[in-house]
Symmetry: C2
Subunit: 367 residues, 2 copies
Amino acid sequence: MKTLTVDLKERSYPVVVGGGALAGAGTLLARLGFQSPPVVVANGTVLRLHGPRLLGALEGAFGPSPVIRIPDGERYKNHQTLAKIYDGLFRARADRRSWVLAFGGGVTGDIAGFAAATFMRGIRFVMAPTTLLAQVDSSIGGKTGINVAQGKNLVGAFHQPSAVIADTAVLATLPGRQLRSGLYEVIKCGAIRSRPLLDYIDRKLPDILNRRPGPLEHIVVAAARIKAEVVALDETEGGPRMILNYGHTIGHAFEAAGGYRRFTHGEAVAWGMIASLAYGRELGVLGAAETAHLVRLIRGAGRLPAIGRLDPDEVWRSLLRDKKFEGGKLRMVFLRALGEGAVLDGVEASSLRRFLERFLAGNGNLE
Amino acid sequence: MKTLTVDLKERSYPVVVGGGALAGAGTLLARLGFQSPPVVVANGTVLRLHGPRLLGALEGAFGPSPVIRIPDGERYKNHQTLAKIYDGLFRARADRRSWVLAFGGGVTGDIAGFAAATFMRGIRFVMAPTTLLAQVDSSIGGKTGINVAQGKNLVGAFHQPSAVIADTAVLATLPGRQLRSGLYEVIKCGAIRSRPLLDYIDRKLPDILNRRPGPLEHIVVAAARIKAEVVALDETEGGPRMILNYGHTIGHAFEAAGGYRRFTHGEAVAWGMIASLAYGRELGVLGAAETAHLVRLIRGAGRLPAIGRLDPDEVWRSLLRDKKFEGGKLRMVFLRALGEGAVLDGVEASSLRRFLERFLAGNGNLE
């Protein structure tokens, strides 16, 4: 079991990572000062697979916890589910001293966190992420929110959790596609900030994909540490936190153009990184050998859904909805070296658009 | 024109008070660093009476501002109006660098502030309060939110404005009942923290009620300063900020038991202060002469809607919904002296309930 800290002064909090962490959640949270049971927010799948372990641990420390069951899936990350959580909080007679425990993947964390951010002007909450993606990314940093008709995560708040408990043992039941999707964000963390993490994944890829406990714990700790460090530099994403968006500018556009069905978020980011590498190669920001090395690593994690059938115009429209060009120029993250992300101003719209057309026409294969 | 500061470190902001402040809003906001026009949120009445002045000033500095018109009244401080504001922001092509200008009374400030707190995880906003109550109270301190079926302000956020611009000249058009309602909150500020403010109101009451510019500006500056000082001590109401709730524990219960129609918020607070004074007299926390002096001042501001017809059981149920008794005891604010509020723990439920029954039976007249 490893404990990292997200260092945000009076809003600092621990991130506990390890196999079996859920079983110790009651003791840990009691030690952090919680005295009453939380209101647990989770979907049916997570409750069935892992609910008994968490709820048992909480009961041992605090007595029985009320549970708000929410529907499963990104399409339910909306105002209706939010209203359902508020309603459950009122039924549980929650007040300003109550706290929420978000138990699940990114959707659960985002929406339960936003409910906590806004219920009675903000109550405390704890994240217990159950997907690799949530453990290394969305559970850390306090981004919460819901989707609206106009787009994803457009209504939300920065609201830091009081603790994150990432039990890597629960990853044993994660569908393979979800595991790989999380792994792409781990690779992203390595790409922008840690060559050793990239090398570790390169060496241990089969063990990771086979969910060997040691390697899983290693990559979650490493990626969560990178996320925590970057968040500590820039809590509300005004500056340096932008490097976490590596692969996301293009990835988001692919994800949206695929109707949020063709690619998981992680897969879209994987394609976004491959495209950024290819485009960065054209711009001359990273050498051919390093580019090829990282592309091989990303592709080695598993087969990505094909990209060739995306409509280039739709990809471009999605990118324009998501990002703002200032005077025809865009800020984007590139790699200066493997393990070193950097924000570049001045990417030209016309150049990026032409590149994307070529990239899609070639099915994402680099020449 | 006076400028106060709400001192909250990196979230500090100016409160500009004075007759004609709106006319200078463009220049002021440009000096604060705003570079593009805001999205203005206001209701039709405020736009008709004072819109041209504000919009003209903004246009001079930034070009034309888009306006989102919301319905007028507390019953519209709900999710539907919030969705309407989000929608207006999207139509105005707002992004993370956009800002909102909330132009109106407490309802407008609360809901536009909450929209700003949650649109794209929080954008900047400025308050231009147009009622006395909003100028001295709700525009300062960052409390934002909406009402839900379970009660008022139960969904919301702490989100500090970037500036407050309180033009006391607009109070000339405020209905008399609204003016008096605001005056009760000014008296409350004096009661908890400034004997000189109470004495000033005592001397100048006719001038204030006749809306003489000098006295109006004086009391807004004095009360806003008190609010700003207390907020700076305790941004999220964990401790000392509670003294701002003087008169509110009982006042809220009266307001709710009157169905939010019989009393304005300020009138309910006036009754809450009178009741707290009477109860404090029974508990021996303030002398008879000072108690009588403050009751006379409150009653001198105008006739309050009668209280005798409220159902004592309904008042008590409302109080229990609003406040939590711990082991049968409640925390409440009392005056140790005129100008000195203090939080007292250990008010006994049974004692308070018996007092309220007597108070209502006697129509709020102290024996």
